[in-house]
Symmetry: D2
Subunit: 358 residues, 4 copies
Amino acid sequence: MTSPSLTAPGLTPPDIVRCAYLELVVTDLAASREFYVDILGLTVTYEDENAIYLRPLEEFIHHNLVLRLGPVAAAAALAFRVRTPDDVDRAEAYYQAMGCRTERRADGFVRGIGDSVRVTDPLGFPYEFFYAVEHVERLAWRYELHTPGALVRLDHFNQVTPDVPKGIEYLEGVGFRVTEDIEDEDGVVYAAWLHRKDTVHDTALTGGPGPRLHHIAFSTHEKHNILAICDKLGALRRSDAIERGPGRHGVSNAFYLYIRDPDGHRVEIYTQDYYTGDPDNPVVTWDVHDNQRRDWWGNPVVPSWYTDASLVLDLDGQPVALAERDEPSEMAVTIGADGFSYTREGDTEAGFKLGGQL
Amino acid sequence: MTSPSLTAPGLTPPDIVRCAYLELVVTDLAASREFYVDILGLTVTYEDENAIYLRPLEEFIHHNLVLRLGPVAAAAALAFRVRTPDDVDRAEAYYQAMGCRTERRADGFVRGIGDSVRVTDPLGFPYEFFYAVEHVERLAWRYELHTPGALVRLDHFNQVTPDVPKGIEYLEGVGFRVTEDIEDEDGVVYAAWLHRKDTVHDTALTGGPGPRLHHIAFSTHEKHNILAICDKLGALRRSDAIERGPGRHGVSNAFYLYIRDPDGHRVEIYTQDYYTGDPDNPVVTWDVHDNQRRDWWGNPVVPSWYTDASLVLDLDGQPVALAERDEPSEMAVTIGADGFSYTREGDTEAGFKLGGQL
Amino acid sequence: MTSPSLTAPGLTPPDIVRCAYLELVVTDLAASREFYVDILGLTVTYEDENAIYLRPLEEFIHHNLVLRLGPVAAAAALAFRVRTPDDVDRAEAYYQAMGCRTERRADGFVRGIGDSVRVTDPLGFPYEFFYAVEHVERLAWRYELHTPGALVRLDHFNQVTPDVPKGIEYLEGVGFRVTEDIEDEDGVVYAAWLHRKDTVHDTALTGGPGPRLHHIAFSTHEKHNILAICDKLGALRRSDAIERGPGRHGVSNAFYLYIRDPDGHRVEIYTQDYYTGDPDNPVVTWDVHDNQRRDWWGNPVVPSWYTDASLVLDLDGQPVALAERDEPSEMAVTIGADGFSYTREGDTEAGFKLGGQL
Amino acid sequence: MTSPSLTAPGLTPPDIVRCAYLELVVTDLAASREFYVDILGLTVTYEDENAIYLRPLEEFIHHNLVLRLGPVAAAAALAFRVRTPDDVDRAEAYYQAMGCRTERRADGFVRGIGDSVRVTDPLGFPYEFFYAVEHVERLAWRYELHTPGALVRLDHFNQVTPDVPKGIEYLEGVGFRVTEDIEDEDGVVYAAWLHRKDTVHDTALTGGPGPRLHHIAFSTHEKHNILAICDKLGALRRSDAIERGPGRHGVSNAFYLYIRDPDGHRVEIYTQDYYTGDPDNPVVTWDVHDNQRRDWWGNPVVPSWYTDASLVLDLDGQPVALAERDEPSEMAVTIGADGFSYTREGDTEAGFKLGGQL
């Protein structure tokens, strides 16, 4: 099979508004429901024995997350909303021009969504583009439904792909712009953040064997909401769902927490990055050896955060085979015997932190 | 003089990115500096004996507020950033086609800004459009500079104009979209909120004698930041600068505070409205008699908040004469002997609250 | 009938640990349950058709609030815990020596409480003293039960009495100590705060017709918890339950909110006063004309807050007749035509605030 | 030398009010000043070339921390305030009766403190007891001085001692009461928390080679204040001062952060434990294998937190020699190859967390 091109010169890409929903295959719907509804407090727009459609409190489109029962835990689609119905046509044409497989469904692939196109993109990810969507109540003012850890918005996706610069080239072609990245002194790019809406990202590319979904992120209004999720997980004796954090990111400047759902899918809870909507928004490049790049407080990134991610499905619903990364891994160059990170440029010794003791 | 048209059919309006800065004439620069720098903690990008250029912590363009010394306290310009240099041309052509007076300056009207056009818009306001701007350090990560009441962004302007539907027609012509409004049962529109960036507004129209500037709003990350500003004003025995709030808005769902600077210019501190970037973002219409529309907790809107606003200047620097509003005022229909607001639809009596006792 | 003495010289008073519970008569138990349980989130320790026993999340004694169904809304008992069983004997002897009516019940007056004595104190209030109490689960770690407005402790009572210095003399006799008070230039005392535990107060005396209960106060951990209660009341269209605040007290430095239950009983939500446990804790005296004494931000105290309070019952369950205050009322000397408050000492004019416009 | 007794039967111990101040020897006064004043924002009551006297915002006694320049980093005194001047006599007599060395100084050992007695206690720690103290301004209302990470009170000390039950016996003799402890299935006690004021502790005993000072803790009002300290350390490229946390304790239920000063002295920032003032406050015992006992979210305790602590000085200013712990160490039984902790009772496997990967 010929690889698709990374761009479709001469064609107008779809005008992507934002990341809009994730279709996630889970292997135990009841366990997932407990996690996303009972613990995280997402609102059920619709559910049946095969799927649960969920949204956070400020969302007015039908859902931001579909949990679909299936045999293999995986991400079935990363869906983006486009500005007009015509942009679905543009998306279909653009991806076909790149040589990507596409599938168009006038009635959508899932409930609540209308005319959509799904593609296997040049990186192997199942992307969807849609405009038509059922509106539901925006629960922003319904404070009687809010919980201490209230999730209010879908913020972003994060994807694992072997070759980050290649991914950037492709995503810039469809209109994304880079806000931040992590590089080393040789110009190796370890990760990049790209946006459409006015935040640091709608998706990010993390260097590693891919295509895989690294995580989906929901946002809260305040930092204490994120701490409340941790407290509740502790109270439920589910603290082992906490993988990393809470902490302050260097990249994005947001406050964060990473947790793992019953299938191991990773969810980030995220708040307070900055406005990026200006056309000349400054790009921030971080040194991979800067120990504050991923956690501003220098707390260690756990190995599983680097190594684990969710499979993605092709348009036939089969897991996509992984390609390895050729360049060094961020974990190798920063943790333990193979790597070193500094707190201050010029530092040569690790400190007493757990990360320095591995 | 012929009134300008409200639109310029056939012409492409400028692609406005966001509200970007306010030029404010103050009568005592030292007193204003104390207020905006020492108390509110805005960062000085530049200052001399005639003007101070200020920005909040996450801003990367030269300034969001210019305090210029002058004889009469007034707003000299409400400036919007456009997407490309060509959009300045488009703005100039568009406003000229409406019959508005315009003035173009290749080097900008103030420091830090390049090629700009200022106009007297169809509502009598001094609007400016620019693309070129000097970049400065985004202080987001500089936590050693943050204060308990840290302001992080410019959020919006709010303008007083007699005829709100007329204002909406004009602003929709240049690309703004309404997110929320306040109406009565007869269809009288008392106020409307309009946006370009992904928030509830870049500017709002408040019905009343105009053109006047009702306020400029800066945002914080969390609600406690706003409370900290109140606490500090109390500690400095400046609590009489607090005009209204803190409270939760019905409109926008944001948490807010209104304070008044030494010249009486009103500043709002604001946080946590919702995402509005989708093309079909639902419009919320509030009943003017709903006592939770402006304060979700039903706390009273003080009369001065309705009656006071800042003069605006024409392109010669002269205060623009005010036109009265023909329709009823929101204050008259909601407060005291002339008006009534309900907590629950169908309520017929005011309660023990101060608003019910005026 | 002879008035009781204010002290019992030569007798050892009981060693009072803290304010412990309030027995409150309500006229509609279902309506009160909705308010205290569904809205405020207090935990039901026990309930039947006549009474509901409630506690906040960090309490380990059986209850801090008893809602008892009755014909007249009133406070039936303000109960204090004492350090040892013998202190109940001391309390009985001490109040009898003052000439107060007392009633002792080995099995307590309410569920969950053992050997107790109730008294009609020299100010006419129904005080109770007990040591023996049933322990229940302290829910501090049960974060799955926490709500955005989580109440964690009973903080204090506040009582209305005509003669504040007389009340202070009596309460100091039983071991309370003053932490703050409000006076005028002639030495008139308008209110005083007195404590046993290490906070600003276990009870306060507010000058006015009495004996009446001004309010009971529960505390939260953070300020946003209090704001969440307001937001929820708005969402339930119950914002008219908000009487005053939220705001920052001058007295106590705490963040506060006053709400009214379905019978009009006042509840304060309160957080973050200071430690007072040292024997020489400095007393803070506020000028009654200082506009920041009751709200640090200078927001107006609503008249109802001064005028309304709950009746209290005698040991036969009958409402106690009120005695008027001889000295000026705080409301008269501070609000509107009769009064004046300053923001800065020496100020002679009120500002644009609502308080200045009454 | 004969060991002192653990109690002095028949003698009345001093009535201890609270932990009051720590005298800490530091080796670089300028570096310590930067840490405690510039970064943490403690207020300087007095300073000269040999010492700095510091207090947090709500303190009204002269200081809670003395930094004294000296050749060896160590804790010179853990000082407690007593209720009356006579309690200093009682302390002296009590410790002498136990066979402890004591030293009395009518003018105090440090500035701002009057008549005091210092002792080498039965565990080898330098304890001080005083009543007389200079009052200074309580800065609670001085919000213009508050920082995002505002420290408001001294909360507690934490001491390392080999034999925790022995330490408990001694401290209960002088009036402390246990609130929580950590034990294993064989009854080995790893740590205990003891209080005088109405909080979880005024001091704690941590099992290990001692006598050493494990840490001193200051409290903030809210959790975001603690996060702000982390953010600021990151901004100053001092994130390696963060040793452990921020997190939620299981023990005490407080939110916490551990940082290390330039000499390696450990400082905890702490907020929101619970009220313990009732005489029958329930004791909470934690299983040493419960992975949520020290961090409710199951985040790992770093080894240095277990192994490092500050030397203490005897009354001649010489470091006290350490005695080893005979019983197993908490670190050995919980981390890595030698130990195991569970999230849920009955768990047999560690998870993906860093702590499980050591």
